[in-house]
């Protein structure tokens, strides 16, 4: 579980996050949604420590992440899996080597042990047999799955996904979303997904957080989001013709 308590963040005295307080629950897929520039990416970076909040606290379990120094944070960093937008694989490394990278950084596992772990993770994302391939030989969906395997290789307690299905066709995007959701439940991970894709919301949104102009505007589940009377949220949810037609 991650608790966000009264977090503020500004750039050049322009507030980007305003007094955000919420909880991301364990074993659930938590989605942060919002328009571009709403502050959802800044919130995500504050969560993983890539940006420091000006005020407020971020608490992992019982550990106050905001109050920790660099060395102390490393303990929590070992428990964070990260899935970057665009997969962000190392092009010069094979699929296996990509998956093994976090293990090399955080553990003293032998090569054999790392390979076994990588093989397990690749198997889990249905990429058995692709271990020797280079990223250039993979499709967009396969790259995302390798990135998920890399993210879960260190058996994280927390998984952060930044726009996990951007650039993918709808069926593949849904597959990736489902994979994230399955892994979250299977390994009892606290997963935070940053997205603006309503398909993802409807598919895997156990808990949905809507950020509007840097403020926490709405919190609920995917089942509730279609029936809220909140105007700003409805503008976001029913922004497409498809959604408006479905609503009618």
């Amino acid at each position: 579980m991650i608790r966000v308590e009264n977090v503020w963040k500004s750039f050049d005295e322009q507030p980007v996050l305003k007094d955000i307080s919420l909880t991301f629950e364990r074993g659930k897929t938590n989605l942060i949604i919002g328009k571009s520039g709403s502050g959802k990416t800044v919130l995500m970076k504050c969560l993983v420590g890539l940006l420091e909040a000006d005020r407020g606290r971020i608490v992992y379990g019982d550990l106050d992440f905001s109050a920790m120094g660099y060395r102390q944070r490393r303990v929590i960093r070992k428990e964070l899996g990260m899935l970057f937008q665009g997969a962000a694989l190392f092009d010069s490394m094979s699929v296996t080597d990509n998956v093994m990278f976090p293990l090399s950084m955080f553990t003293t596992m032998s090569r054999k042990e790392k390979e076994m772990r990588a093989a397990f993770c690749l198997e889990r994302v249905n990429l058995h047999g692709a271990d020797h391939l280079q990223p250039s030989e993979l499709s967009g969906g396969m790259k995302k799955r390798v990135a998920i395997a890399r993210a879960i290789s260190i058996s994280p307690k927390y998984l952060f996904c930044d726009e996990p299905n951007s650039g993918l066709d709808p069926p593949t995007a849904i597959l990736i979303d489902k994979l994230i959701s399955e892994i979250t439940e299977e390994f009892n991970i606290t997963t935070v997904v940053n997205t603006h894709d309503m398909n993802s919301v409807m598919e895997i949104g156990d808990k949905v957080v809507y950020i509007y102009l840097g403020e926490l505007w709405w919190v609920g589940s995917r089942h509730e989001i279609l029936h809220t009377g909140n105007k700003e949220l409805n503008d976001f949810v029913y922004a497409t013709e498809l959604m408006r037609t479905l609503k009618k």
Binding site: K45, V48, L50, L51, R77, K78, M82, F84, Q85, G86, A88, F90, S92, M93, F101, P102, S104, M105, F106, T108, R150
Partner: protein, 420 residues
């Protein structure tokens, strides 16, 4: 502690693998970057190898001449600025009878020999070699000059004192005159007389002073004296004197100076009309020369290496810029600053080292060609290889540090943003 060391070792290994992959992925760029270092190492190590080889040859030659032997000659090896050249020219040359006086009157001399030389044709049956250097030497020549005989023997006391027609041939001369025959006991014609070959010198190669026996022949001085006036200036006569063990060159020179002045009856106010030359004077001169050549090698090669170093630094900055996103992802996935630092530093050192090794290979190839074509003893020594490798590593470290440091200090947020 052990756990930390293992982790560090593993991270360094991972860094090295990243660096290696990058080098392999950019082959053309790597080759172009290496050129500066290659040329620099080639220049420096070539010069050093030449200097070392020359120095070794000269020292071997000096050793062959006898590094404690003093030469009594008309001309000095280093000129005294107080005297004019014509004052040297007017001096008398050492004479054969002066050798006997030196041997008799000096207490410090263990052995002394007289040598005069000319050039003549040497014939064997229908084969002849023109303009062979013929040296007439006195009996103790074998005690003051280091040499080995390939076959046969040195002159006996009788042959030397009686001026018998005996001759010792240089190795190459013997090969030319007797291509398929053992020359020992056979007669060659010199000065129109038959001379019996009693020995052949061991092959000596080209000495630093060109003082090899290979193309020459040696006969007893009394034999040579039957055909020419060995005291004449034109035959370059000189006396070599070697001290008893424990006698320093300075003591020997003092002794020889007194005896020679006495032999030549020089009044106390008169300048010496002879020179006492030491081989150490030669080495001192060469030491200075080699120091200058070495310095020149450092300067010439240093500039090339400097340019190469800038090339590496430049390409490393480009590499850091290109891989900004990767640096960001690595950091986000747990890579520490020193992992990134090592990664780029390793790449820079590897680049520089490859350049240096290619340079060393070129020197090695060059030496092999020189040795096979010119038959000169030219060697790429282990110390020079080590120097080349060390210089390469240091240049790689220096050139790569700033780009690597800037990469390691990169803000992961900024770095990752470059991917988005």
């Amino acid at each position: 502690m052990l756990h930390t060391l293992i982790l560090i070792a593993k991270l360094i290994r991972e860094s090295a693998l990243f660096a290696l992959t990058s080098i392999v992925a950019n082959k053309l760029r790597t080759v172009l970057t290496l050129l500066g270092i290659t040329i620099g190492i080639f220049a420096i190590i070539s010069v050093f190898s030449v200097v070392d080889s020359l120095e070794r040859q000269i020292r071997e030659s000096i050793s062959a001449l006898g590094d404690n032997v003093v030469y009594i000659q008309k001309w000095p090896w280093t000129f005294d600025t107080d005297l004019q050249w014509w004052q040297y020219a007017n001096r008398p040359s050492p004479r054969l009878r002066e050798l006997e006086e030196v041997q008799r009157r000096t207490g410090s001399v263990e052995a002394a020999a007289f040598l005069a030389s000319t050039r003549r044709r040497v014939e064997y049956l229908t084969t002849s070699v023109e303009s062979v250097s013929i040296a007439g030497v006195s009996a103790d020549y074998d005690q003051v000059r280091n040499f080995s005989l390939h076959s046969g023997r040195y002159f006996s006391q009788t042959e030397s004192s009686a001026g018998r027609n005996a001759i010792i041939l240089g190795y190459d001369l013997a090969e030319n005159l007797f291509p398929n025959t053992d020359p020992i006991g056979r007669s060659v014609k010199l000065f129109g007389h038959n001379m019996t070959v009693i020995g052949v010198f061991e092959k000596e190669g080209l000495g630093g002073f060109g003082d090899t026996h290979d193309d020459s022949a040696v006969i007893p001085i009394q034999t040579l004296a039957q055909f020419i006036n060995v005291d004449q200036d034109r035959y370059g006569p000189f006396i070599m004197a070697k001290p008893h063990p424990g006698i320093t060159n300075a003591e020997l020179i003092d002794d020889l100076t007194g005896v020679m002045r006495s032999i030549r009856r020089l009044p106390p106010v008169a300048e010496n009309n002879f020179s006492l030359n030491e081989t150490s004077l030669l080495t001192e001169g060469f030491d200075e020369l080699f120091a200058i050549i070495t310095l020149a090698g450092w300067i010439i090669g240093g500039f090339s290496i400097l340019v190469g170093g800038f090339g590496i630094a430049n390409i490393m900055f480009v590499s850091v810029r290109e891989r900004t996103s990767i640096i960001g992802i690595q950091k986000a996935l747990g890579a520490k600053n020193y992992f990134i630092l090592w990664q780029f530093l390793f790449e820079a050192v590897l680049l520089s080292l490859i350049g240096g090794i290619v340079g060393l290979l070129l020197v090695f190839g060059g030496t092999a060609i020189v040795v096979s074509v010119f038959e000169i003893d030219f060697l790429l020594s282990a110390s020079n290889i080590l120097l080349g490798v060390n210089v390469s590593i240091v240049i790689g470290l220096v050139a790569g540090f700033l780009p690597s440091w800037s990469a390691s200090r990169m803000d992961p947020v900024v770095a990752i943003r470059s991917t988005a």
